[in-house]
């Protein structure tokens, strides 16, 4: 799509220079005078009764100012309860009648610990070094309790219980049914049924979490700087938990070094650090270290699907069945969010009439799983897209052809799936061309020439994954646009940036909507002190919601300015045009009244100012979407597998993506590329592994393997933009899309490369040892034959 004004232009980012000079301001760069530092003692056991916490030696250690155990913390603040997570919209209740049990999470463990890494005690000292010294002096008595790590095991009747007062470990459960799946399966020409497991991995942003809190001695107000995606939600939570009026609390998310969903949750430390600052009357800082991040920040992805597809002889899918078990970890702080996303993205771009899904969410003695870039979608897409390839093999069809045959066609838009989305609206795909995306991805990946190079030893295969993504979920986002007397425009929005380039893209939107120059716009976000209301940057929502809120506010400012300018020039508003930040009478472009002069005209010092007009040329807007808008994408990848060593090499990776109207193509491509690499990490390298005792085996970056530049494939991207009819900008969200496809696409490509050997990929990551194991098993089962030296 060609640029339309500033929208669609690949403007360079205004964020960069400051960051490139090392002048960014991340949470750990904020160090108020006299700031203390906190460290946390964390549970070394996955499940145990805590019978005694002895802080007496720790509090006497050098430099220690205070120490807190669970009982002390509970008396001062908390626990962590999120009422929003309990809310089930009535239409969702009617559709799937879910069981939703959301537990309060203690800020520090009191009587029990339920996962390794759970905070048990906090020490506050003059430095982090001294605080960590004191942790070693804390004596905690634990009594072992039985451990359950595997979510399927957790659902067995004799499994150890995470919540002793519950009858089982089921935190959330629901069923969805449409059409007549039983009849469809009975009548089918072909069926496939498999168990696929999406393994656990996580966001692991390079900047870990962190919190700094300080009470202003002048007015007693509390300021909290947090590496958070949702500073306003954190403020609202802290106000409740610490008993502050919201206006006496300011939460700032300054520069944030990546979030990817992980920093959209609220954690015990977010509460405990401000609590300590208030109790001690001194600023307190806590910066999560990497070991804490891997064990205690939220994980993602772990689901087991028993999925079945039924098709007729033409490859038309008649029915889908899926029995899903989701591992919640030790707590379900966010309720339905992730498991319900898995349901509403299971059908993806496909038009399937009969569906039968069961979801059970199990508590286990593992770290909490919560939204991580994709939030339930990559898991479900892994299962469905793997099943599609199994079905194609069963039918003897090309897997891309099978997909195309079953896709919702553009002329079916808007298309109702029969499901209800999490926001309570009927799930209706607003726009998109899924077959077009598939064709584009095939064209981009251009697999034929690469496939022709396949040999016995180095086998080459191609894989696809298609998905839809509900983006821009409500309830709202807020924005405020103001024109300063000098002509500068300040845009405040309720989200926060973790690298998405909001200062650039939102300025493009505002400048266009208002009629000013891009360089005159300054965007401010991530600060509850700048804007009273806000929701936050999660769930691919900021462009859609804040973007449209800005358009509404800017339009109101422009109309008001026009009215005042007309008074100033004594002509009719209809005869005025606004461009490049100045009004001109139509037909007289030489006469200019700068917008800043209009703002200046409203100054209280101006005796000629119009009566009854407020002094600021500004407007605020709350944008509430009717429901989400559906982005979509198709990934295609060609891989080579070294049969003897099991090493997988990505030869080429292609993404055709639809995120509606693109505001800044460079930034949009960057979002896709980054998401793809996180998906590649999950597909090939990253896995959070617990042993049977619930110990995290991958507790450092030596074992939790993030991909590096050497693992990056050749990447080909294309946008196939179908504007959303649901919002004035026509945009759809794009933050998460890139991360959704890779685990499925790469697994499909590896299986394709090794299909002559009879290999079936059922879980990742596909490291060389697992790939060799698949080959050995397939050969042993007599599916194929392969000669290698070692076997």
């Amino acid at each position: 799509m060609p640029p339309d004004g500033l929208i669609g232009q690949a403007l360079p980012r205004v964020e960069d220079e400051r960051l490139l000079r090392g002048a960014g301001r991340y949470v750990d760069d904020i160090h108020p005078e006299g700031c203390l530092e906190a460290a946390f003692l964390r549970s070394p056991f996955a499940h145990a009764r805590v019978t005694n916490v002895d802080l007496s030696e720790a509090v006497r250690a050098p430099g220690v100012v205070a120490a807190f155990d669970g009982a002390q913390a509970a008396a001062l603040a908390g626990p962590l309860v999120f009422d929003m997570a309990r809310i089930v919209p009535e239409p969702v209740r009617r559709s799937v009648d879910p069981l939703v049990r959301v537990q309060p999470m203690p800020s520090l463990a009191t009587d029990r610990v339920t996962f390794v890494g759970q905070p048990v005690a906090m020490v506050v000292a003059e430095s982090r070094y001294l605080a960590e010294d004191a942790l070693q002096l804390i004596d905690v008595e634990y009594e072992d309790l039985p451990v359950v790590v595997d979510p399927e095991r957790a659902l067995e009747p004799d499994a150890p219980l995470l919540e002793p007062e519950w009858e089982d470990n089921v935190a959330i459960a629901f069923n969805f049914r449409k059409g007549d799946p039983d009849a469809a399966f009975a009548a089918a020409h072909a069926t496939v049924e498999e168990r696929f497991r999406s393994h656990r991995y996580m966001a692991a942003p390079i900047e870990t979490r962190g919190v700094v809190a300080a009470v202003d001695p002048f007015d007693g107000r509390l300021t909290v700087w947090a590496s958070s995606q949702t500073p306003h939600l954190l403020r609202d939570f802290l106000a409740g938990a610490l008993g502050y009026a919201p206006d006496r609390l300011r939460v700032v998310a300054p520069d944030v070094g990546g979030g990817f969903g992980m920093k959209g949750s609220i954690y015990p430390e977010d509460l405990l650090v401000p609590m300590a600052a208030r109790e001690l009357g001194r600023p307190v800082k806590w910066i999560e270290d990497r070991a804490e991040d891997l064990a205690s920040s939220t994980h993602g992805r772990e689901q087991v699907h028993r999925i079945a597809l039924a098709a007729d002889a033409d490859g038309r899918i008649l029915a889908l069945r899926d029995d899903i078990v989701h591992n919640a970890g030790a707590f379900t702080t966010l309720g339905l969010v992730v498991p319900y996303n898995s349901l509403t993205h299971l059908l993806g771009p496909y038009d399937i009439e009969a569906v039968d899904v069961r979801m059970r969410v199990a508590l286990t003695n593992t770290g909490v799983t919560a939204p991580f870039r994709g939030a339930g979608r990559p898991e479900t897409v892994f299962a469905v897209e793997r099943a599609m390839d199994r079905l194609a093999r069963e039918l003897g069809m090309d897997p891309a052809e099978l997909r195309e045959r079953n896709m919702v066609r553009p002329e079916q838009m808007p298309y109702a799936t029969g499901l209800v989305y999490r926001d309570g609206a009927d799930q209706v795909y607003d726009s998109g061309d899924y077959p077009g995306l598939l064709r584009k991805a095939r064209e981009l990946v251009d697999a034929e020439e690469l496939l022709a190079q396949s040999s016995e030893e180095r086998r080459i295969g191609v894989g696809y994954a298609a998905y839809t993504e509900g983006t821009g979920v409500g309830p709202f986002e807020s924005a405020r646009v103001s024109v300063e007397p000098g002509g500068k425009v300040i845009v405040r929005y309720g989200g926060a940036s973790q690298g998405q380039g909001h200062r650039t893209t939102l300025a493009q939107i505002a400048a266009d909507a208002l009629g000013v120059r891009f360089e005159d716009v300054e965007v401010r976000g991530g600060d509850s002190g700048e804007l009273a209301q806000g929701f936050g940057t999660i769930a691919s929502r900021t462009l859609v919601l804040a973007g449209n809120a800005i358009v509404e506010a800017a339009t109101e400012v422009r109309e008001r300015a026009k009215r005042i300018a007309a008074e100033m020039l004594e002509i009719s508003p209809d005869d005025l045009e606004l461009a490049e930040g100045a009004f001109s009478p139509k037909g007289s472009p030489g006469t200019k009244l700068p917008l800043g002069d209009v703002a200046g005209f409203l100054s209280p010092f101006n005796p000629a100012r119009p009566k009854g007009e407020s002094a600021d040329l500004a407007a605020g807007s709350i944008y509430r979407p009717s429901t989400v808008t559906y982005a979509a994408g198709v990934h295609a990848v060609v891989v080579a597998v070294d049969v003897a060593t099991g090493m997988v090499e990505l030869l080429r990776y292609a993404v055709a993506h639809d995120c509606g109207r693109v505001v800044n193509p460079t930034i949009a491509d960057g979002q896709i590329a980054g998401g793809v690499m996180q998906g590649i990490g999950g597909a090939l390298y990253e896995e959070l592994v617990y042993d049977d005792a619930g110990q995290l085996v991958t507790g450092s970056f030596l074992d939790y393997l993030l991909p590096t530049a050497s693992e990056a494939p050749e990447l080909r991207l294309a946008h196939l933009d179908v504007p959303s009819p649901l919002n004035p900008l026509g945009v759809k969200g794009l933050g998460e899309g890139g991360a959704i496809g890779p685990p499925a696409a790469i697994a499909n490509a590896v299986e394709d490369a090794l299909h002559e050997l009879g290999v079936v990929v059922r879980e990742g990551p596909l490291g060389p040892s697992r790939v060799r194991e698949l080959i050995r098993e397939a050969v042993k089962a007599g599916h194929g034959k392969v000669n290698t030296v070692g076997s």
Binding site: A644, V789, G790
Partner: protein, 287 residues
Amino acid sequence: MKPAPFAYHAPDQLDEVLALLGDQDHEVRLLAGGQSLVPMMNFRLAAPEVLVDLRRVESLRQLRHSGDGTLAIGAGVRQSALLREPVVTDGWPLLSEGARHIGHPQVRSRGTVCGSLAHHDPTAELPALAVALDARMVLASASGTRERSADEFFVSYYTVALEPGEMLLEVRFPRCPAAAGWSFKEVARRRGDFALVGVAALVEAGDDGTVSRARLVFCGVAERPFRALDAEQAVVSGASFEEAGRLVSEAVRPMGSIHASAEYRRECAGELAARALSEAWERATGG
């Protein structure tokens, strides 16, 4: 993740280093590149009471090529020297190639050759290279120096033949036969990771065009560098490289980890052996 307190010394004379190292009443550790020790200290998995930093001891930073062709690498020499110094890249190309697989430039520019050898992670490249190249290890303490072969030096996981109060002063690589073909092959999860399996191979061609001498030493398949004697012998007796690989797979008894099962390492060792022998042979015969 901050280290526990310790006392710090950075003497400029080797005598002082050895005297400090001889302190039997405290846990004393040497600090050279710190690329293995400091992470363990940050995790508080190691908490030595005294650190003796080698950085000021000029004599340890030497890399000497002596008249008899021996390459002597002092305890202060960085791993990057193996990739940079023409004397190494020309005379010991296997050592240079193997060192290319150690971490990344930011690690090799600080990590030392002797530090990696003394640390002895059995999945690390340098211990296997030292055994493959018949290195001699010079061990020093306040009471004098002694020499051990690399084969004698590596005992088991993170354990070497250093006595309390003793340090690895220098490693000496004898002249590498000019006619030897060489190869280093490694499988790792990502570039720069410790090896799942790695192999250093050396092959010499006899006048009759057959293999006259072969050397195969692995990292990642045992508690110490593993030399595949049976396979070496078989190759000299005319066995194919694939056959030698099969013998390797039969001989090794690796441990499994989350990154690679024992079975994987076993079969991969054989495969890499065949590939490395074949590449080394090509180099030996100018193929």
